[in-house]
């Protein structure tokens, strides 16, 4: 953490960046996102196992952009997110300094190639309980899975915290807000919730880097991350597409290969 404080101090003092997006002490022992603008405040940054939120969600927030050039404290999943954002032209290369942190290590990544190298050598590892959840669901029968998801989604009241917490859900007007036609039922009943989560998964297929931010954000405790993780798993097995490791990758869902598997098509 000292290395992090030192690095942030240097960055701000040298004027290389005007703001550092990082984690700080929050309320009730939680961590929270903080925006450090002076070297004197560098020591307010923390980095420990409470820091799960994917801070890349703040990179394009207008208020933050207005502050000037930014550096960001990023765990491996956030680094992948940033790579994916560059690939999707949401971030230009070199626009942000990435302070990649994992356990006790800190690396400063400033260009695309260093980001890619880091992302490729730091896989996103699921915590054991997520691994177990994924296995448990895989073991269910179709009817049981239907039951499982109906029960889980019943809790959803559509606050869209999952969407807001996801750095890759950056559309200014989300499909749920398009009403000509109204693709997704607005009320949070079973049908509306099913449509919403299905759409979210489809839109993140081959893009979700499995950071888990949406699951942590969900106030109702729904393991929604599993849906987008599954969508990305499908893209990986079917199309060999791994999101967040290449800054100039095409998008899984807007490209194709002639040999895409079509055994299910008559």
């Amino acid at each position: 953490m000292q290395a992090l404080h030192q690095k942030v101090k240097e960055l701000l003092e040298s004027g290389k960046v005007q703001v550092v997006i990082g984690y700080g002490e929050g309320s009730g022992g939680k961590s929270r996102p903080v925006f450090i603008r002076s070297a004197a405040d560098a020591a307010k940054l923390v980095w420990d196992d409470r820091c799960h939120q994917n801070l890349a969600v703040y990179i394009n927030k207008p208020e933050i952009k207005k502050m000037g050039k930014a550096a960001i404290v990023a765990h491996p999943a956030a680094v992948r997110t940033i790579v994916q954002m560059i690939a999707e032209h949401q971030l230009s290369s070199g626009a942000i300094i990435v302070l990649a942190v994992e356990n006790d290590t800190l690396e400063e990544l400033t260009d695309n190639s260093s980001l890619e190298v880091y992302a490729q050598s730091h896989p996103v590892l699921f915590p054991p309980f997520v691994v177990k959840e994924i296995e448990d669901i895989a073991a269910l029968s179709a009817a049981e899975r239907f039951e499982f998801w109906q029960n889980e989604l019943e809790k959803c009241f559509k606050c869209y915290a999952c969407r807001a917490a996801c750095p890759l859900c950056y559309c200014e007007r989300c499909i749920v807000e398009c009403n000509q036609p109204q693709w997704v039922s607005v009320p949070s009943h079973a049908q509306g919730n099913f449509e919403w989560h299905m759409n979210r998964a489809m839109h993140l297929a081959g893009r979700c880097v499995s950071c888990g931010s949406c699951t942590i954000a969900c106030p109702a405790g729904i393991p929604i991350g599993l849906l987008t993780i599954e969508a990305s798993r499908i893209a990986r097995t079917e199309f060999g597409f791994e999101p967040g490791i290449s800054c100039d990758a095409s998008s899984a869902m807007s490209s194709f290969r002639n040999e895409d598997k079509e055994t299910f098509i008559q």
Partner: protein, 338 residues
């Protein structure tokens, strides 16, 4: 004063459900506690500080049809769901802050142009609340006019006492009618001082002071700093027992369907967006300011109604740790008085 044992309380609730009343009680779903209609009392939980979703859904459900319609040629047949008498409901396990919130919420919907759907449900609702013997750092009921044992809004207020039982305050006619009908389940005990059992919630700020300061804090810098980490989801509003903003949407097909009210949040960027593209609240800081101002300044000014009961749900639910209590303490401490 009356008291009831734990077993008799479960019998009481089961009896109410058997009578055909819809009994909403806290049940665990995954890691979180929600209010849900229960038939038998086995899943009802008692060991929570606060439910995740507030009990406002018994008055103001997540969604409800306002009217339903069907085209018959060029004519339209419209049905009014408020014509049918609302079902009798019992809410069990609400906290005193929740009960107060429900009362204020009903008052809000009844103001000026009364909302018959909400009023009908309020009339048919009996609230059996449970005093708080535990609180956490996010609770601030004592700063907003409530307290861990406040009777406001409850028909019966239970306070856990020794020997696995509850002291029962029968507070209204609705409460009395239940207590009378089921009198064998209650026993008489000498008057007790319930304060000794209650959680201690320190007063964090004075809402009167905050209100005074907010009256001239619209352009204050405080909003910019605090809202930087707000990601603009609706979690705070949807778990809030007093947030009453809603959207009206159409369900069904072009031929037949219903017009549905569903929860909405002032934190969403499109909430106030005009068709022309003009948005009166363009930035997240303006939307966060609206949330705080509406609860602690605008509503008190318009109707002497503080839009917050200090349940702390928003602070617990927030994905980026926006803490309402902290924000209000900050206002109390750092906004100048004029």
């Amino acid at each position: 004063m009356k008291s009831i044992t734990h077993d008799n309380l479960l019998k009481l609730l089961a009896g109410l459900a058997d009578e055909g009343k819809i009994v909403y009680a806290p049940v665990r779903k995954g890691q979180k506690v929600f209010f849900a209609p229960v038939q038998n009392m086995q899943p009802v939980v008692f060991d929570y500080i606060q439910t995740t979703e507030s009990p406002k859904l018994v008055l103001f459900p997540r969604y409800e049809p306002l009217i339903s319609f069907e085209y018959q040629g060029k004519e339209v047949k419209v049905d009014d769901p408020s014509a049918a008498a609302p079902a009798e409901r019992v809410l069990f396990g609400s906290r005193p802050c929740d009960a107060m919130a429900l009362k204020r919420l009903a008052e809000f919907f009844d103001r000026d142009i009364p909302d018959a759907l909400i009023a009908g449900r309020q009339k048919a609702l009996t609230v059996i609340s449970m005093s708080c013997i535990k609180a956490d750092a996010d609770c601030f009921c004592t700063s907003t006019g409530s307290s861990p044992g406040d009777i406001c809004g409850s028909d019966i207020l239970l306070t856990p006492v020794e020997n696995n039982g509850y002291a029962a305050e029968i507070l209204t006619g609705k409460g009395a009618s239940i207590a009378d009908r089921c009198s064998s389940l209650f026993s008489e005990i000498p008057e007790i001082r319930k304060e000794q059992y209650l959680a201690k919630v320190e007063k964090a700020f004075s809402h009167e002071e905050v209100r005074k300061k907010l009256s001239h804090a619209f352009d204050h810098d405080i909003w910019n700093g605090a809202s930087l980490r707000c990601i603009g989801c609706g979690a705070c509003a949807f778990v809030c027992p007093m947030c009453s903003c809603f959207d009206i949407q159409e369900e069904g097909t072009a031929k037949k369907g219903s017009r549905v009210r569903c929860w909405d949040s002032c934190g969403f960027s499109l909430f106030t967006l005009h068709t022309s593209g003009h948005n009166p609240r363009h930035n997240q800081s303006e939307r966060w300011r609206q949330r705080v101002m509406h609860k602690f300044s605008y509503q008190p000014e318009a109707a002497e109604l503080t839009g917050c009961v200090g349940c702390g749900r928003c602070s617990r639910a927030c994905p980026s740790d926006m803490n309402l209590k902290e924000q209000l303490q900050d206002i109390a401490a750092n906004v100048e008085t004029v």
